[in-house]
Symmetry: D2
Subunit: 455 residues, 4 copies
């Protein structure tokens, strides 16, 4: 099927052009403002000339300045939401005789009008990309426009369906990849900045380095999310050697460990659509198949919130509740560490025990309001079913690494056979799966082990 | 972008394999019956191991016989519909304070649980194709299981979103197309049967013949709908010369007319998702761009229901209401025509005036219960904004053509500048756009011209 | 590299068009007959406008009838051969002082002028294909034009360089292959005729059937040679079960034997350029890599000349020299066999011993004038280093099989570790590598075993 | 054909691997030194195991240091040249009876044995690239090894046949091109250095900039030659504005001039195989087709040898013969110009008339020993049939531009209708086609106009 299907896709680019030509013939008499065009797109005219109207809408929208775009979004938020009259009638009918049929009718009646509008906007050339861009505008203005929240949720709902993982395509990115894509990888890398093209090349060209991204067939030149992988003989305990520009590549067929050292989401407009968990599992599958010698799949991850948390803790008086406490004896040295952090210096080597114990305790016990781990990276990997495997001292001496976590990093381990059970325990009661050595560290801070341990 | 994106798609095939490998590792402890697996897929286990569970479900489902599949569909119909409790609460909340937020909440609460189940089933390898196949089973059993109707509507709703025209890819099918696709064209052709590979070749290989199909990126080797086009110098008045195996091809750059002489939907499982209107308009755009000499875009279409209608009319007594009536003087000759039809013979040449007038009157005036043209092909093209352009006598002497319409065929014309207005008038009050000559024919039966005429 | 390079090739088709456009601008003043154009192409005008002149030559040549083409070929044969004057001078210089430099100068001086002419003709759109077609004309007329032999050898020399195996691309042909290629497979199959598309599908679509072809980048839609392969559990002893339309495919991963049951050259114009040996070895390599369970690579081959040889032998009197003789006692039964052959009937079962012994003896001992095996298929496979492995009785009951060899077929075995030694022994003294069972058969006819045996 | 053929090429990469596997099985007993392997490759063993032996040769050769490689090349130069005995016999036979047949026999007999050796080396994976690399070694050592000259000529002869323009593929290079190719463009640019990736992007990504390269199907990731094109409204008179990083791109559909401002050969190992003329003409054809508004195709070219020539002239006494002379009155100012050149400074504005006249006179009259223009760039474009169109003052103020030609540059114009006549006149008697304004400049130096003028 391959080659024929390749051709199928090559016509996508051409199609855009065709649509323009065709719509040009239709468009002579088109007029009205954006609101009228929104209505027109939902009307019978929209059924006949949807492509042309959708294109017209985007062309006008793109030409607007920020204020005018906000006005357009206000219109979408206020006039294209749930039809209250229709919904009221359907709700009453349902409550009179609740069953699957009246329930479905209610579901249809209560669908915000925007949903169909968005689906028809997708007919325009590059419609999907333009809808994603429109949502970026929305997100940027959300702070000042809380009334847009339902519309934002509508976008998230729609995109979750369209960007269903079943429609995504995993693609390895390497030195044979077009520059137009590579340029975006440089731009979107959010964890360990890519300095320039040479730096990029060091991450994708050596035989023991991989970069995989998800793409969607309709967003042809836009990665959705990507992960960078180092193939190694041991689990890396620091990011420096992974990124060193003078390191010697190894033969990937001899590697036993695959380390995911950077994961970056690329599309702000797809916020709320989760790709990361699928990406990691898919890459584990790809690598397992290609390199049977691989035994271990881990991350090398930052602890973005650790230092802030510790700073808060250090500022509390002794009475403050919370499972983890700072002893009097170490207050001074922790103050030193916090001072070093301010100056982007490494903490004193003597602090290793204190800080690694505190980090372990922090990750195992501190929760957010929804009872999930307070650290966002921990939340992501533990939620995916990974195991908190190791806390690494002096692992990232970049200004960011020192500022976030005194240079500490963490390995989360993906153990295919345990992912499902870990995820379920985590989802059920917030259980954090952790290696014994992490529990041992936490015990040093008096944190009893309640959690399920996994080796 | 082209070439990189081609590669993106080639990984689709590989991905299926990878998923299997990976899920194989997860699956050891998997058990339970299909109902349990449906629930598992919607649970937190489903979040962690969705691919594996979805695959497991399809493997089991595929292995079932018809009865057991019907039981599975019964489970989906009864236990995975709208959650009545949750919906009731949301409906009451909404009625208390109806606004966009409570309306959206109601919309989400009343979504049938199947919808999320279907979205997760899509994670399986070939998930989309398998869901489409599952709906085929559903449609086949719908007559005996009216309780499946809401589920059928759920499928249609989901597929309308996934198969949004913005995600479809138009592709020309020719003699360079893989045999695996061509074989399906032969199988799916529903209007003028393709006898064998030589017959197929005559429809796709000569320079003045075209075949275009829509594809979806996830259903790589399955056309969704296709249209066959003849490029000619005049509007064809009969199908025979179009399909003749000894005809001389013309230089397509000299053609002025593109005739759509066959349109076939390929996927029963996508019933209710409309592709035809988009396909025709897209092909008009493609052809206009490639061949600027083309001026006229018409169909050569059957009138599937004409003879049945006329037989009914002939059986009525004079009092029967209805705009079109058969005069006493022609009852005998119409009886002859109906007898000829029984024997798959052509009607007598002397009947041309009667039958073409009756056909024009039929198409212009007869409506179904929803006030749309009674003839399904007319309904499709007129609904798309086409014009009823000409009624052709002795246009199709195949048994089917004689049986459906005494060998009459119709040209519908797509006039890009008028499509929108025609569609709107049709949608608004059922107005049929027709050429003056068609109105003249109908006047011969006493049918006054109420309709908007278009030249 | 893959995807970029794919694109490289897609431009080939476009290029042809571009050349035409460009040459069109150059061509206004072009004139003269073919002979003048040949000279022009070799002149300085040819350096500047080679593409246009080459295209002009082919357009004129294609428009000629057979007689006029023969005249053009006569011109090429007589006026564009070796430049005798220049060669004479170079030969004398060389003989005066023979060294590498004067030798090279002689080599250059004695190159027929056609060679450069052909190289420049290759500049035309589809130049390579058109040169191959021109040679087909030459071969067809060679019988009546012995003076074309040097020109024919020039073509063979040039094509051997251009179609160097290093430039060929092996490609699997299957049901995903474009119909335009498959149609040519049907047409070019020379051993076991392909009846229709269903028959073709049985040879390429089941998982245990393969078809591989060599292509050249410049002849994009023309296979050069192809081989059909059956993956089986045992070495097949007859062609019928291999081609049976109701057989059950096996899982290719369980196959231990790959049988090459048909090899067809496709391009008459490339006569003398050998592809077969490379093709078989390349396919052995491909299959070994994909299916490690394969242990045995054999052919199932006809013995095209056996029956003719035996008929000749039967017609001789006893005194005729030759190693193999027919005993008096079997003359009658062999006469029966020859009579059955005349009627396309199978020979009597009682003849199995006689005929298989005679076939073994024939293949082991009978030689042509150049001391190579007299049977052309044997010559090919033994020359490639294969082993004569088995003689099969009642192996091909088609009219052709009965007519050529009383229904007998042979397995030749390719044993990668022995190919080189077998080929060398064969090339050195004509030694035929054969399995002991074949020698045993031959001993039944009194043929002593001189040959190296290989198990 | 496109998509199937794409697939054909994708197998090239895989094939390399397959060959290795297969040859691995053959290679167990392989031994001997390089000379023995050369002989083996030409022997019957080579016919059976050519791929394996060729690969073995390259692996050993690649592992050698420079001295050892030179020894290997010495062997090829001395022992694999023309077979003197065989050639002598053939020469005598030919002289006895010189005709086409004995001439061809002589041609074959006198072919250096290396030619067949090279053809068989091409069987190795990446054989073509490795042969090209081997010739690079040869060229690098040619100064110290004059005995290699015949071998060098053999390489050139073979590569001229293999890299026949009919086998080359023109490919546009843009920002969608794989980084691996772009990196080579940066490296190979020989005229106006590409500083970094941003600089590269400015040359390939804006809509009014193009870069085209020739590729060969067997050297998949290596451009052979490329040309950079600027689409403009006027003929550029200086390189600065063309390369400026802050310039505004224009809509290419409004451009009337295409300027070839840089042409770079990429493969030293293909020295002597001419691509440039074909490349320019092909790009003219491509651009003409895509952008019908283009009317003028020119270069913006350096005059690499002008300053050196003028320095020589200035050093001569008055008696020196030569058509162009320096008057006494301008000796001082020319000395100034030469001094400025030494310091990489721009010459004084007052020198414009003198220097542009001298440049015109130089280009029109000065010849090398073979009576061709002394300036290599002039030789190339005039030889291709271009017209010397304009001499530009202050056109290139880079150190190289000032050093080569006091900052002067030249436009050569390609006028499709005149190319052939210009080329022929040039080839016949060295006539330089030049615009009247160039002749006027030269007349200022007393150079009479003998040349054909072209507007």
């Amino acid at each position: 099927m391959t080659s024929f299907f390749n051709d199928i896709l090559t016509t996508i680019a051409e199609r855009g052009r065709a649509l323009i030509d065709f719509s040009g013939r239709e468009r002579a008499a088109r007029g009205g403002d954006l609101t009228e065009l929104f209505e027109a797109l939902l009307s019978e005219r929209g059924e006949a000339s949807g492509m042309a109207i959708a294109q017209e809408i985007f062309e006008r929208y793109d030409a607007l300045d920020e204020d005018a775009r906000h006005q357009a979004l206000d219109v979408l938020a206020s006039a294209f939401g749930v039809d209250l009259e229709v919904s009221r009638a359907a709700a009453e009918t349902f409550l009179d005789a609740p069953d699957d049929a009246t329930g479905r009718a209610l579901n249809i009646a209560s669908e915000p009008r925007r949903q169909e509008l968005f689906r028809r906007l997708n007919l325009a050339p590059d419609g999907t990309a333009r809808l994603v861009a429109m949502r970026e505008d929305l997100i940027d203005g959300l702070g000042g426009h809380p009334q847009w929240r339902p519309m934002d949720a509508d976008f998230a709902h729609l995109f979750s369906s369209w960007f269903n993982r079943g429609f995504l395509v995993l693609r390895r990115i390497d030195w044979q990849t077009p520059a137009a894509i590579l340029e975006k990888i440089i731009r979107y890398e959010a964890v360990h900045e890519i300095a320039d093209w040479d730096d990029l090349r060091r991450r994708i060209d050596p035989p023991d380095r991989r970069l995989y991204a998800f793409f969607h067939p309709r967003l042809v030149d836009e990665p959705l999310i990507f992960v960078e992988v180092a193939l190694t003989g041991d689990i890396p305990a620091a990011i420096g050697p992974v990124l060193a520009d003078d390191r010697e590549p190894i033969d990937p067929r001899t590697a036993t460990v695959a380390t995911f050292y950077s994961i970056s989401n690329c599309q702000r407009g797809l916020k709320g659509v989760t790709f990361g968990s699928f990406l990691i599992k898919q890459v584990v599958a790809e690598l397992s198949r290609e390199l049977p010698s691989l035994r271990t799949f881990v991350t090398l991850s930052p602890i973005p919130s650790f230092a802030d948390w510790l700073a808060g803790l250090a500022g509390q008086d002794d009475e403050a509740e919370g499972e983890v406490a700072i002893g009097e004896s170490e207050r001074a040295s922790i103050a030193d560490a916090l001072a070093a952090r301010e100056d982007a210096r490494s903490p004193d080597a003597g602090l290793e025990t204190s800080l690694t114990q505190l980090a372990a305790a922090y990750l195992l016990t501190e929760r957010d309001r929804r009872a999930r781990p307070r650290d966002p990276v921990a939340r992501f990997h533990l939620g995916n079913g990974a195991i908190l495997d190791r806390v690494n001292w002096a692992a990232d001496d970049s200004p960011r690494g020192l500022g976030q976590s005194f240079g500490l990093m963490v390995n989360y381990r993906y153990e295919p056979d345990e992912i499902e059970a870990n995820h379920e325990a985590y989802a059920h009661d917030g259980t954090v799966a952790a290696a014994p050595r992490v529990h041992r560290l936490a015990r040093g801070r008096g944190v009893a082990r309640r959690e399920r341990t996994t080796a």
